[in-house]
Amino acid sequence: MTALRDAFLSAAVALGLFGPMVGLVTVSSDHGLFLRARPIAVAVIVGLVFFGRLGMLTWRGRNRAEATRANRAFAERITRAGKYVTPVLLLAALALPFSGSRYYVDLGTLVLTYIMLGWGLNIVVGLAGLLDLGYVAFYAVGAYSYALLATTYDLGFWTCLPLAGILAGCAGVTLGFPVLRLRGDYLAIVTLGFGEIIRIVLNNWVSLTNGPNGITGIPRPTLFGLRFSMDGGDGTFAGFFNLEPATIQRVIFLYYVILGLALLTNWVSLRLRRMPLGRAWEALREDEVACRSLGINVRNTKLTAFGIGAMFGGFAGAFFATRQAFISPESFTFIESATVLAIVVLGGLGSQLGVALAAIVMVGGLEALRDFLSFLGDQMGSELFSGIASELPLYRMLIFGLALVVMMVLRPRGLVSGRTPGVSMTAPKEIDAELVAQGRS
């Protein structure tokens, strides 16, 4: 009975929220702006909320212990499956361009960029436990470093890539110094501010960055000096291999570049975790006082985490600049930081595979959903679905939020919450995250 009342209440809240937001659309016509009502869409959403809430309550009320057990079994299965998921994902990533579809390769490139950013941020947030809400700043520093170096000094992508990484790393250390003594919420706020400062500086330092107009004509990367241009002459990829020049060649090349960069990020973070430095980061996340009492130089440890995390953000930024060939401060808003952080948190802090899966779901999943809905709309000739499909980007944040809430209810420690020890002599004993949280096994 309480479940029913609760479900009604949730439905009422949903009606209040979605009634004006979804139920009314403005339509512009020759005679001005009109309001059009969409009662069916509202009814669908409110119905979903009602039955969703009802189902959730009855499912949970059924048997708490059983639900926990089911959840644990799922966690075990996903941990065991992890061994097979990784090579399958890697093979799929390598094989993706052979699909020949420009759309998929572009989408893959986008997803990989976020995976790389997620892995970079994972070093700072997941390993060292420093909550960074301004990660996009380093992405921006990398992008602008490459764009400015390339357009001003006529340097190539491969020369600028390490420079962009180093500059972003320096920015990371610069941010690190003032926040050394901060923790938790305070740290988050300062990093958030830092991210905004970088964006506002880029926006207003017109003489250097061209302000809101951005930088155009950023050169594309080359493959050992071979350009990917459409003329097909000497010194171009197509000319060298006697191929018909096509844009898809460059798109695929860019895809493999970001795949390589992302794998490099993964490899470096995995290596670091097995080294004293990585272990010191994790120890720092666990207990700063204990670290001090063991003689760890807390300052340097934190600064290296910020620096190395930022460096990978810088690499990704340089790649972003070369892919887009145009950058402006608009690309580096807080929402990017939030997306990357959401990917890291959803994936399970510190888990490499989890981050990759979360990025695929968060970035690729949304695209897939849009495709699916417009497909449904075409098939059924219904305006409702295609309407939702075309508006889906507007609901991005709503879906993000919903996904986060659902995740935090079902798997509060992220998709892949198991943590493999950096060193072990025997086979690791998997212990449920919930029990660890309670401090018992």
Binding site: P276, R279, A280, E282, A283, E286, D287, V289, A290, C291, R292, S293, L294, G295, I296, N297, V298, R419, P421, G422, V423, S424, M425, T426, A427, P428, K429, I431, L435, V436, G439, R440, S441
Partner: protein, 241 residues
């Protein structure tokens, strides 16, 4: 011969609040020295001040004749001083082995296996739990891990802050037994902070009593145990655990 550790006139502050008021204390090579006192007397502050966190505002801390008063914490810890901090503070999500390695890496030790074997000889339980997460250990095991972690740097001076905190009497006896054993076989010098005055004074060669940031009494363990004012202040009411 110079003392292993000597403090003279050490004061320390938390902001405007003075926590230590001119502490004079020496620890000789091979001794077990205990520091007893009530809550808030400044025992843990004294431990932390030796480690340079907070830094002593005045006075002098000498380690093997070297003035370490103004050294940064990590430099002090690399001189062969190790601390098992109050509340154990093990790394909960890291395995027992990783916890132990954290103790050794900072001191730049490479003979990890030898060091591990020594810790296992002292606390066999840790070997059984090697690949288990620190946070899943029992309180007593966590304390063993904290001490084992400190020992991994093979220190010349071990600072132990309230190892008996929140542990059952039997486990406390086990841990104190291990400390005595360690001192006897390897000659390790120990500075022990305790509220469990009876056990601590029985274990220690010498003891200091700290009241409101000043040392009010000093003497051998047996001597302090025999004093009526100590009995009245720290031992009445079930101190004989």
């Amino acid at each position: 011969m110079t003392a292993l550790l000597s403090l003279s006139g050490v004061t320390a502050f938390y902001g405007a609040i003075q926590a230590l008021r001119g502490i004079d204390l020496t620890v000789e090579q091979g001794e077990i020295v205990t520091l007893i006192g009530a809550n808030g007397a400044g025992k843990s502050t004294l431990m932390m001040t030796i480690c340079g966190n907070p830094r002593a505002r005045s006075g002098q801390i000498l380690h093997q004749g070297q003035d370490i008063t103004q050294w940064p914490t990590y430099e002090i810890m690399r001189r062969g001083i190790a601390q098992a901090p109050e509340g154990r503070r093990i790394f909960g999500r890291m395995t027992v082995r990783e916890n132990l390695l954290m103790g050794a890496e900072v001191a730049g030790r490479t003979d990890i296996d030898v060091l591990l074997q020594q810790v296992f000889a002292l606390f066999p339980r840790l070997q059984e739990r090697l690949s288990q997460r620190g946070g899943t250990l029992s309180g007593g095991e966590q304390q063993m891990l904290a001490i084992g972690r400190a020992l991994m740097s093979r220190p010349t001076l071990l600072l132990l802050d309230e190892p008996s905190l929140g542990l059952a009497p039997l486990v406390v006896r086990q841990i104190f037994g291990a400390i005595r054993e360690l001192n006897r076989t390897t000659g390790l010098t120990v500075l022990l902070v305790e509220q469990n005055a009876y056990q601590a004074l029985r274990l220690a060669n010498r003891g200091y009593v700290l009241v409101n940031g000043s040392i009010t009494m000093a003497g051998t363990g047996a001597d302090l145990l025999a004093r009526p004012e100590i009995r009245a202040a720290y031992l009445e009411g079930g101190g004989h655990a």
